[in-house]
């Protein structure tokens, strides 16, 4: 990107993801068309060939995630993107990548489900994203942007975290964030200290040791050791990489918590409540895995009432309840995904007011 620090662009969230991947040095993209994320492959099919990179429209999302696996194994930065049904297909490859400790960025612009569902905004893939999604017991890094700017910034962060921890990273948004146009300051890639990819498969060369990228672990104790190693790495992630945003939580007696698109609506509703003199704050997790549990635990020592709002019947609320102090009340308001189910600020204000006065 030629854009300087002060240059403001007006782009879609999905385009911001694609632009950020290029800025992050990703030159390999593999994907398959699915609404509402197709702007990402469309953008990259245009830009990557100009940059000496590779864009492949794969035969399926299964093909795409396995191309990602193959490219990542050779040590390059690479990305795929999809939505609900396609992300389900990718779970096989994500599990293999997790088992093989391969980095790689997967963008999930959530749509409704189960099944074909629909293309409106949804947060019902929170569990799928944050619990691993595929077989075998693993976690991936999950970042939840709530603006076009964050689509850009967090995509770049996803590449860095994925490389540093050798865990696949997911950017989890929905059609509200992906399809919305907003101003963007396309900052240059932040400087990060990244480890050498000395594990990569590049052809062993003469006199070099053979490199193998694999998830088959048949040696006595090998699989168990892998699980404990990854368990420790997830803990390291939790200790060092949790990110969240707090708004007017200092004096709050009710904390509203939400991520992604709904957090934007909740922010307006919180402002409406403040205008009515209610001491209400907002806690927005930015990393969903690692989940910022400590932020919830700390706030719940002084604020005993939380209201969790999601575009589902309640998924993140599980993590909120596991994080807060035992005597904290956690209420939930949800709109399961579907056409016309996006709540209005007034609707959320009503919920805030009801919980606040209770």
């Amino acid at each position: 990107m030629e854009a300087g620090l002060s240059t403001k662009l007006f782009v879609k969230g999905n385009e911001a993801v694609a632009m950020a991947s290029v800025e992050a040095g990703c030159r390999y993209y593999f994907g398959y068309p699915i609404t509402p994320q197709s702007d990402i492959p469309e953008y990259l099919s245009r830009e990557l060939p100009r940059l000496g990179g590779e864009f492949i429209q794969a035969e399926s999302e299964i093909g795409a995630i396995n191309m990602l696996l193959g490219a990542s194994a050779t040590g390059v930065r690479c990305m795929t993107s999809s939505s609900g049904p396609g992300i389900s297909l990718k779970q096989e490859g994500i599990s293999y990548m997790a088992g093989s400790e391969l980095p790689g960025v997967i963008v999930d612009i959530m749509r409704q489900g189960p099944g074909l569902g629909g293309i409106d905004a949804s947060q019902a893939d929170y569990w799928q994203a944050t619990r691993g999604g595929g077989h075998g017991g693993y976690r991936i890094i999950v970042l939840a942007p709530a603006s076009v700017q964050e689509m850009y910034d967090l995509t770049m962060l996803a590449f860095d975290l994925s490389d540093i921890y050798r865990i696949p990273a997911m950017v989890l948004a929905d059609s509200v964030i992906g399809q919305m146009k907003e101003s963007l300051v396309a900052n240059p890639r932040p400087v990060a200290t990244l480890p050498a990819k000395d594990w990569a498969v590049r052809g062993r060369g003469e006199g070099q040791l053979q490199q193998v990228v694999k998830s088959l672990k048949l040696g006595d104790g090998e699989m168990e050791a892998h699980h404990w190693k990854m368990h420790a790495r997830y803990q390291e992630l939790a200790d060092a990489e949790c990110r969240w945003e707090e708004l007017q939580t200092d004096d709050a007696t009710l904390i509203v918590t939400a991520f992604g698109s709904v957090a934007r609506i909740a922010r307006t509703a919180v402002a409406m409540a403040r205008a009515e003199g209610m001491q209400v704050g907002l806690l927005r997790p930015i990393t969903l895995f690692p989940f910022p549990s400590k932020a919830y635990a700390d706030l719940s020592t002084r604020c005993k009432r939380f209201l969790d709002i999601e575009l589902s019947t309640g998924q993140m609320v599980d993590d909120v309840r596991l994080s807060v102090a035992r005597d904290t009340e956690v209420d939930f308001y949800g709109r399961p995904p579907g056409a016309g189910s996006l709540p209005t600020p007034e609707e959320l204000f009503e919920q805030i007011a009801k919980n606040y006065r209770r």
Binding site: Y28, F30, E54, I56, A58, E59, S60, I62, G63, A64, N66, M67, L68, L69, G70, A71, S72, A73, T74, G75, V76, C78, E92, G93, Y96, S100, V201, R202, G203, R204, G205, E206, Q208, Q210, Q211, V212, V213, K214, S215, L216
Partner: protein
């Protein structure tokens, strides 16, 4: 006195886990000889599949990526696109390539990916215990076709070498066998061609090898070897089905 036959350098000097009379060992050796021939051991990336071929990394002295079941052509695609100066090959069995991985092989071939695919057709799922494969012969009894493969329910065995030869993206497609010295010599020659295609950047190369699985066929090694010629070759004819660069 000169040593006129020895182990290729690209093949590690260790005992394989293959059963007595299993042809995988022969196919491994022929592939390793081809890598030696072109001097590409140090720049080769192998893509292992799921099945008896999964231990590729244990036997070939090259870098290896392990792919999920059937996905080796997609993994190889990613690796080759990222490292176009490397030699990338996949090694897959019939369940892996011709059943669960059909989409991946067809589309890698159709894109004309500059990779070499080695396909071992032994008419059964070896690693999982001899279940019916897409290449199982009509009437062949397996652990999931106990009354014999019935084409009215299970279809007919798939001829992959011919099928892929129909695709414009394919440079080379051939079928060989390793059941006799004569066939081994032909297989050796065409295995080298399959690698030469990639070395000379002539496009996608596919080589199918008819192979014996004595254990799951319930035969002794010699009888299993005999079956390859008697039953498989008539249905899966040996030959070169596509050779666009005339290598």
């Amino acid at each position: 006195m000169k040593q006129v036959f020895s182990r290729p350098e690209s093949l590690k000097d260790i005992q394989t886990h293959f059963c007595p009379g299993c042809h995988h060992g022969s196919v491994h050796r022929l592939a390793a000889e081809a890598m030696d021939e072109f001097g590409v051991r140090g720049e080769t990336i192998g893509v292992a599949s799921v099945g008896c071929s999964v231990f590729l990394y244990g036997y070939f002295d090259v870098d290896v990526i392990e792919a999920p079941h059937g996905r080796a052509p997609a993994v190889a695609t990613g690796a080759k696109r990222a490292r176009p100066d490397r030699i990338v090959f996949s090694y897959q069995g019939d369940g892996d390539l011709a059943a669960i991985g059909t989409a991946e092989i067809i589309h890698a071939a159709n894109r004309g990916e500059d990779i070499t695919v080695i396909f071992v057709n032994n008419t059964t799922y070896g690693m999982t215990g001899g279940q019916m494969a897409p290449t199982t012969m009509v009437g062949q009894k397996t652990s999931t076709s106990p009354y014999g493969r019935d084409h009215s329910k299970d279809g007919y065995p798939i001829r992959m070498a011919e099928l892929l030869a129909q695709l414009e993206g394919v440079g080379f497609s051939a079928r060989v066998a390793v059941n006799s010295p004569k066939n081994v010599m032909q297989a050796k020659k065409l295995m080298k061609t399959a690698f030469r295609y990639q070395v000379e950047k002539k496009g996608f190369a596919f080589i199918e090898v008819l192979a014996a699985c004595p254990t799951n066929w319930g035969m002794n090694p010699l009888a299993a070897n005999q079956r390859v010629g008697d039953e498989m070759v008539p249905y899966f004819p040996l030959g070169v089905y596509r050779n666009t660069a005339n290598l």
